[in-house]
């Protein structure tokens, strides 16, 4: 079957998220529960009726052509982007305009960016301890100990007192992963973590992510590293024109895609 993008509905009048009642704080069975998510940039409809439930410990890879809304979707999960319709419940907390809920969710959700976004004026260690100390109120000594532990896990403890500008791209991205982990998040979001790296550095970052996946962390990764998807993903999601076109376990997704659009995309990225 062929997907023709449906005509975009007009944006709703109210910009606040729907369901005015108090946010659900009970224990949800899902780690992330997205229902009827719609988002517009001005009159451009970027996300259309997204429904996505992520179980605890599930590892999801999201792929799709550029401009398909993959990044926007995961950026909605920690409210770097505001949505206009639908509900997003993260670890039992609904994302609304309530700053308290946003802060709660952000404490529990770590994010790794395409361009690392390390703080260049702070050392690697300071990058890793800043949020635990000032957001989680962890004592400084404890924060340093935790940071060193995670820096060891991403295999760069010896760089702790250097500044990000002195590290290679792959090292910087591993620091970014450690920085997120220092907040002890329950969910990790990866937004094209290897797209800005030199080819020789991609594998060191992927190895770190594979290690992390083996610990049972809930992970959502926007990436085109299909080898990574095959190895660690529980589910692969394909997005196009702001919609989830297809989702399936990796074997099924790669060997037996159901949509022609998915097939075309796969043939293009796997061809070279």
């Amino acid at each position: 079957m062929t997907d023709t993008p449906p005509p975009p509905p007009t944006p709703p009048v109210a910009t606040a998220a729907t369901t005015p009642e108090a946010p659900a704080t009970g224990n949800s069975e899902y780690s992330i529960d997205i229902r009827g998510l719609n988002k517009w940039y001005g009159s451009f409809h970027v996300l259309k009726d997204i429904n996505l439930q992520v179980s605890k410990g599930e590892r999801i890879v999201i792929c799709g052509p550029s401009g398909s809304g993959k990044s926007t979707m995961i950026r909605c999960i920690n409210r770097l982007e505001e949505h206009q319709e639908g509900t997003i419940i993260v670890d039992g907390v609904e994302l609304t305009n309530d700053v308290k809920n946003i802060d709660t969710v952000r404490r529990e959700v770590g994010m790794v960016f395409q361009h690392f976004n390390l703080f260049p004026h702070l050392t690697v260690l300071e990058n890793c301890t800043l949020a635990p100390i000032w957001v989680r109120k962890t004592p400084k000594k404890e924060a340093i100990a935790t940071a060193m532990q995670y820096l060891e896990r991403v295999r760069i403890p010896e760089q702790a007192n250097k500044y990000p500008g002195q590290l290679s791209g792959g090292q910087q991205q591993r620091v970014a992963i450690a920085r997120s982990l220092c907040m002890n998040p329950r969910i990790m979001l990866f937004d094209e973590p290897t797209s800005a790296l030199d080819p020789e550095m991609i594998s060191e970052v992927l190895d770190t992510m594979i290690d992390l996946a083996e610990t049972g962390m809930t992970m959502l990764c926007v990436t085109h590293e299909m080898g990574f998807a095959k190895q660690v993903a529980d589910r692969v999601i394909f997005m196009d024109y702001g919609e989830i076109v297809e989702q399936a376990p990796p074997e099924e997704f790669f060997n037996n895609p159901k949509h022609d659009r998915t097939q075309l995309f796969l043939s293009q990225i796997l061809a070279h």
Binding site: F113, N117, F119, P120, H121, A131, W134, V135, S180
Partner: protein
């Protein structure tokens, strides 16, 4: 299968001799081409015309002995530094201290106390920087005021309107600079705020003060401010000038900082948000340290401008370094030696402005983290 070759790296060699050394530098920069050579020679000739007479007048033939103008009048070919020597206290410390040389230890003590307090802040490993900084900002000004004014300590009183010369320049510009910095930071953040009331207020404030010349601001501070106080309340002139200067300076500082804020990549804000940092923590720990570093040249530029612009307080009858030097040169005893007065004032201004400029360059180099955004 073929055996793999092992690649041996070539060793590094020193660059060719023609690329280094002073002769090479001169060849490249002074005599690189015909036009380059001509410009070098013309510049040397101009320097030859200017420098020897200047050195002759200012140093070799200059007068410094004696206590009145008779020496200078006898030797008109040289500068009359005797005048500066005799009127030094007045030019540096104003009318009160000029006529009470036995009290000059008070501003001198206050100045060296400040230097002594500031020095540890520049020592990398000094542990009590925060406490010392707080002391300098909150306690020192009162000590300095007590010393220079004198009433609180039972010393002969130097009314603020009798403050003048370099002392006044220093007081006005340093307090103006220090007070304007936090205001400027708040205004710069306000101007980029998402809250329309705060943003509008900041824009209105900044554009109001930026659109008004300092001389007008000082005039308004002098004439308008007293209207807000009940009749008969004498509102200190120096304080009025300070309020005007701080308001004015904060608008310029804000714009310099806004330039820095705009240069911070969006990813920095997002990374801070994603870690759960609140607005103020994000600004204090992530955004401002980077933005202020970028803004250093701009902020220092406004500082230097302010330092020199304090001369405009003459409009409200205060005599800063420049005006005091001018006043001294117009006295009956020293009429005709105003060149010396202006050169001396310019020299003092230059020393301080150049010092500020050098320090800011050091600071930039020290804060450089090898990262280009």
């Amino acid at each position: 299968m073929n055996e793999l070759l092992t690649h041996t790296r070539l060793p590094d060699r020193a660059p060719p001799v023609s690329e280094v050394g002073i002769v090479h530098w001169a060849k490249k920069h002074l005599f690189g081409s015909v036009s380059n050579t001509i410009m070098t020679l013309v510049s040397l000739y101009i320097l030859y015309l200017l420098i020897p007479p200047l050195v002759n007048w200012a140093l070799l033939k200059a007068n410094i002995s004696g206590t009145d103008r008779s020496v200078c009048d006898a030797n008109a070919a040289g500068a009359c530094w005797t005048f500066i020597k005799v009127r030094f206290n007045q030019i540096m410390f104003g009318l009160f201290y000029g006529s009470h040389p036995d009290q000059i230890w008070r501003p001198v003590l206050a100045f060296f106390m400040l230097v002594g307090l500031l020095t540890p802040l520049f020592i990398e490993k000094f542990p009590f920087k925060g406490m010392l900084g707080g002391f300098i900002l909150l306690v020192y000004p009162f000590i300095a005021f007590a010393l220079i004014h004198g009433a609180w300590l039972g010393l002969p009183v130097a009314e603020t309107r009798e403050w003048g010369g370099f002392l006044l320049t220093f007081v006005l510009s340093s307090i103006g600079i220090v007070a304007a910095l936090p205001l400027g930071i708040l205004l710069a953040l306000g101007r980029r705020s998402e809250l329309p009331v705060i943003r509008s207020f900041s824009i209105f404030y900044i554009e109001l003060w930026r659109g008004t010349p300092l001389i007008t601001v000082l005039f308004m501070a002098s004439v308008l401010l007293p209207l807000f106080f009940p009749a008969g309340v004498e509102f200190d002139k120096v304080l009025r000038a300070l309020i005007g200067i701080t308001m004015f300076q904060s608008a310029y500082t804000a714009e310099a900082i806004r330039g820095g804020l705009q240069a911070i990549p969006k990813g920095q804000f997002e990374a801070a948000d994603a870690l759960g940092l609140s607005y103020w923590k994000k600004m204090i720990f992530i955004v401002l340290p980077q933005a202020l570093k970028i803004s250093i040249p701009g902020i220092v530029n406004t500082f230097i401008e302010l330092f020199k612009d304090t001369s405009l307080v003459s409009i409200i009858g205060l005599l800063d370094l420049l005006n005091m030097a001018q006043t001294a040169s117009q006295s009956i005893e020293w009429k005709g030696y105003d060149t010396e007065a202006y050169i001396f004032a310019a020299f003092i201004f230059w020393i301080f402005c150049y010092g500020i400029s050098r320090y800011s360059q050091n600071l930039e180099a020290k804060l450089d983290r090898g990262h280009r955004n």
